[in-house]
């Protein structure tokens, strides 16, 4: 375990160089697992920390920007508005490697508009949605990604159909769409690395159980949290001792993940026959999986040929933020001609 962490990557950095502040999320929260996978992916992909821009909205999930790569700049912005902040940042400095972390409330409700338009513009960003089907930070309200019929901890059933953010993305012409599970590092880390390598919006919808507000059998996005009668929950110090749920299964198979409380979630891994360039096939697969109560994971759709925003805007390689004033002002002669033409 520690051997891997000490290993240096291509640019001579160890895993520790990619760590952030200690998490303050609940012990066992799926979001923490994702943070660890992000750290591994950034390290493995040898992303320069100073070029990394960590963007997030508001929510438990969005706090994660504090928990990885201390050395990088980050922006924990406003609820649902991260896509616009990230768009501005990338336009200003296209050298930045932009990683966004959002929640299902942040993306599928308050931020749905910005989410759609980010995809439409194909902003070059790795956009991770830590999807627990619930509002964690505001203590357990239903979110728009919760499945129809799933219940809240307090027993209220969800009366409205879910918004499948992967299906929305594919339909909007997204260039990279994947779904995974917080506990499946073996799948998620390579997906994250592929997303980092992709130039355009790479959406990763990562099912990430909320152990505090969505930890019961009635939820389809949960694992329950086994707790000892004397073990206090929500104790950050305790987190290192919590067992993460991990899965490891083969493409083309359905994985029945047994949860701590005896309930389970079904993950179907896409097999090699799935054509990631075919949006219709991807949408059909998503709908079929939903009908059979499964969560489809893997790379659903990718089109690396679509130009990203900065390319479409024909921005120079040199970041706009680095251009000096002389490159930006018209010349004195141009100005005089402009004024002379104004009657």
């Amino acid at each position: 375990m520690t051997i891997a962490a000490d290993k240096t990557n291509r640019i001579g950095l160890t895993r520790d160089d990619y760590r952030g502040a200690h998490t303050t999320l609940c012990a066992g929260c799926g979001h923490n697992s994702i943070t660890n996978h992000i750290v591994k992916a950034l390290h493995d992909s040898a992303v320069e920390p100073h070029l990394l821009a960590k963007m997030s909205g508001i929510g438990c999930s969005s706090k994660a920007t504090a928990y990885f790569v201390d050395r990088a700049h980050g922006f924990n912005g406003a609820h649902g508005r991260m896509p616009s902040l990230a768009t501005g940042a990338k336009l200003a400095n296209r050298e930045l490697v932009v990683v966004g972390v959002s929640g299902d409330g942040d993306t599928a409700s308050i931020g749905l508009g910005q989410y759609c338009h980010m995809i439409r513009r194909n902003l070059d960003i790795t956009y991770v949605v830590e999807d627990n089907g619930v509002y964690g930070l505001t203590k357990g309200q239903l979110s728009a990604t919760a499945d129809l019929g799933s219940t809240l901890r307090k027993g209220r059933a969800n009366d409205y159909p879910q918004i499948d953010i992967c299906a929305v993305a594919i339909d909007l012409g997204a260039s990279f769409v994947a779904r995974s599970f917080s506990g499946d590092g073996k799948q998620l880390v390579p997906l994250l690395r592929a997303a980092l390598a992709h130039r355009g919006t790479a959406l990763l919808d990562v099912v990430s159980p909320c152990v505090t507000f969505n930890d019961h059998a009635g939820s389809t996005k949960s694992y329950a949290y086994v707790k000892d009668h004397d073990a206090p929950v929500n104790t950050p110090d305790f987190i290192a001792f919590q067992p993460e749920i991990t899965v490891d299964y083969d493409p083309g198979t359905v994985q029945d993940v047994a949860l701590h409380d005896g309930s389970h979630i079904l993950l179907r891994k896409l097999d090699g026959d799935h054509d990631v360039r075919d949006p219709v096939a991807a949408l059909r697969a998503l709908h079929e999986a939903r009908r059979s109560g499964e969560i489809l994971t893997g790379l659903l759709y990718a089109d690396p040929e679509i130009d990203d925003l900065c390319t479409r805007e024909r921005l120079p390689d040199r970041p706009l933020a680095h251009l000096g004033i002389d490159a930006l002002r018209p010349s004195r002669e141009q100005w005089a001609a402009l004024m002379a033409a104004l009657v």
Binding site: H73, G74, F75, G77, L85, Q114, E313, R314, P319
Partner: protein, 610 residues
């Protein structure tokens, strides 16, 4: 005929929008300008694409007043729907050029004005060889000819005006000139002039250009080195963004590679627009947005984020009449209080208050320096009158000086700094040092956030850290008082003082002249920014009666003054408010000031009980 009617009149063209009358009115405006006559043009238009009434006022005065005039001297009545009302606004002794087919009923039947009926529709139909829809447009060009003949517009100036207007379309220019000649000819053959108004060439426009405030603001942003524009269309600010894009296309595109040293994003809404601006400035670019009241409302949350996370941003608010959709194509100074304190919690933003085309250019340009220096959103408060009307102005000066990017630490500077904290007040001015993403130094990074933070940008809910930050932010924005333009003061020891800001200025100029002629001269102070410059209180202190003139119902500037001035000075303030959607005129100021000054001069009434 009295000479008082030479170069001193207000022409109003009352037409239907979408009928092409805008071109006709611009030709008249430019022809007058080419004759050297100071001209002020105001477009009062509907929120509609075709079919609603629209008015265009062209005012000329020997002194070059740029404000609206309440009464009309010559009406060009083309709109059946408003004809009677429009005719009612013409002053006795005035004149009406009108479509002959319009019925002379109601006020259109009055006998105290000169009537010039012209069969525009028939002339266009019978005498102009063009497609029917084009004929409708050219019908309005005929009135340019009629007016030219009646008031004595110089034909060469008219021709220049047409060429200005159709610069890139010589064939269209010829057709329009043809229509104008038709009007001249008709007037010569069929109309007998009985009104006193005429124009004569003079030397009042030398060294001036005609320019709208929105284009001037866009040029200010271009000159400031703005590289990211994020916007959402809204009248009356859209033309600012469109002008900025147009000029960036012209001056910022590499002719060989086609690369653009500029990004303009039409955002999905104003929330996204301000978000993109903050993201861009966070990453080190100069970025702006322009909007109007409804957009400002949507920007409230993120403006607070910009204030608390300390990010530069430039927002131009081209104000229109609210609340809600209000009168979207009419003017108002209605956002002053809202913008100054925009967002929740304790927030205060520097606001620039330009009143002229030159000022909106300079203020927009300087807003970028201020935003970078203060690391905070800065607002430029324009309005529809300034933004969308053509104004006479000296050519905008080229910016020689460099720009101020404020306190930014690069890798080298960080290397020299042993101990850096993003929100530390090192210099005692409340302004900390920042680093930009992408800075190649291991200590450059930090997490920007809208939640509580300490000096080192770490998350904190400590009461002390919060209070310290809020106190520091207050100090920082207080410092802006001296960085913003000082008020413009014209003092001669009179007891009365007019306080105004923005485009109200132009009505104050005329009002002060006329008040002086009526023996009630007043001093004048024009506020140029918020938070208030210390001079504002000093000048008010020296006056007994202070008339705060503004174009809103609630006296928003007056309320800000009341909040900031010592209580004893507040008693001297008297609100003069104009809020009907059309730009303020001199009368709106003269009447209340005259009454106030006269009351002050009357001896106090004796008590009835001796």
């Amino acid at each position: 005929m009295a000479d008082g009617n030479v170069n001193d009149l207000c022409i109003q063209a009352a037409t239907v929008n979408g009928s092409g009358s805008q071109s006709s009115n611009l030709v008249i405006t430019k022809a007058l300008f080419h004759m050297g006559i100071p001209v002020a043009a105001k477009n009062v238009f509907p929120s509609n694409i075709e079919g609603l009434p629209t008015w265009y006022d062209i005012r000329i005065t020997p002194r070059g007043y740029q404000c609206r005039k309440r009464s009309v001297d010559i009406l060009i009545g083309m709109n059946p729907a408003t004809f009677a009302d429009d005719a009612g606004n013409v002053r006795p002794g005035g004149a009406v050029i009108h479509e002959a087919a319009l019925p002379r009923v109601g006020a259109a039947g009055r006998e105290d004005v000169a009537w010039y009926p012209v069969p525009f529709a028939r002339l266009a139909r019978e005498r102009i060889d063009a497609k029917p829809d084009l004929r409708k447009y050219l019908q309005n060009m005929i009135y340019v000819g009629v007016l030219a003949e009646l008031i004595g517009l110089d034909p060469a100036a008219v021709e220049r005006g047409v060429h200005d207007q159709f610069r890139t379309k010589p064939a269209a220019a010829e057709l329009n000139l043809e229509a104008i000649r038709l009007g001249v000819e008709y007037a010569r053959e069929h109309l007998v002039k009985t009104d006193p108004f005429r124009v004569e060439a003079m030397d009042g426009t030398a060294g001036r250009i005609l320019l709208d405030g929105n284009r001037a603001a866009a040029l200010g942003a271009l000159m400031a080195g703005c590289t990211v524009l994020a916007w959402y269309p809204i009248t009356p600010s859209s033309s600012l963004c469109e002008a900025l894009i147009e000029h960036a296309q012209r001056f910022r595109v590499d002719p060989e590679t086609g690369e653009r040293r500029f990004a303009a994003v039409q955002a999905e809404d104003e929330l996204a627009a301000i978000g993109m601006v903050l993201g861009a400035t966070w990453a080190g670019a100069r970025a702006m947005t322009a909007t109007s009241g409804p957009g400002i409302s949507l920007m409230a949350e993120l403006t607070g984020l910009g204030y608390y996370a300390e990010l530069p941003a430039v927002v131009v608010d081209v104000q229109r009449a609210g609340p809600s959709t209000g009168l979207p194509t009419r003017t108002m100074q209605g956002d002053v209080a809202f913008v100054h304190a925009l967002s929740h919690g304790d927030t205060r933003h520097p606001v620039l208050l330009p009143g002229t085309v030159t000022e909106v250019y300079e203020d927009t340009r300087r807003a970028f320096d201020l935003a970078d220096r203060l690391q905070t959103p800065v607002f430029v408060l324009s309005d529809l009158d300034l933004g969308m009307n053509l104004w006479m102005t000296p050519p905008l000066p080229y910016a020689d000086e460099g720009i101020d990017r404020g306190k930014v630490l690069d890798a080298e500077a960080l290397e020299r700094t042993r101990d850096w904290g993003r929100y530390r007040d090192v210099d005692g001015d409340g302004i900390p040092y920042r680093t930009l993403p992408g800075t190649p130094h291991p200590r450059a990074g930090f997490l920007t956030r809208g939640s509580g933070h300490d000096e080192n940008a770490f998350y904190s809910e400590s009461p002390r850290a919060y209070r310290d930050t809020m106190e520091r932010l207050r100090r920082k924005i207080d410092g802006a008082r001296m960085l913003l333009p000082a008020p413009q003061v014209e003092e001669a020891g009179r007891p009365g003082l007019v306080v105004a800001y923005g485009t109200t200025h132009h009505a104050v100029i005329e009002a002060r002249d006329r008040l002086g002629e009526a023996g009630a001269a007043v001093d004048y102070m024009r506020v140029r920014g918020l938070p208030l410059h210390p001079l504002v209180a000093e000048v008010i202190e020296r006056h007994e009666r202070v008339y705060v003139v503004e174009q809103n119902r609630d006296g928003q500037m007056e309320a800000i003054l009341r909040q900031e001035l010592p209580g004893t000075l507040c008693d001297r303030l008297r609100g003069v408010r104009h809020f009907n959607g059309v730009p303020i005129d001199a009368e709106a100021i003269i009447e209340p000031v005259l009454a106030g000054e006269a009351a002050a001069r009357r001896p106090p009434a004796r008590s009835a009980v001796a």
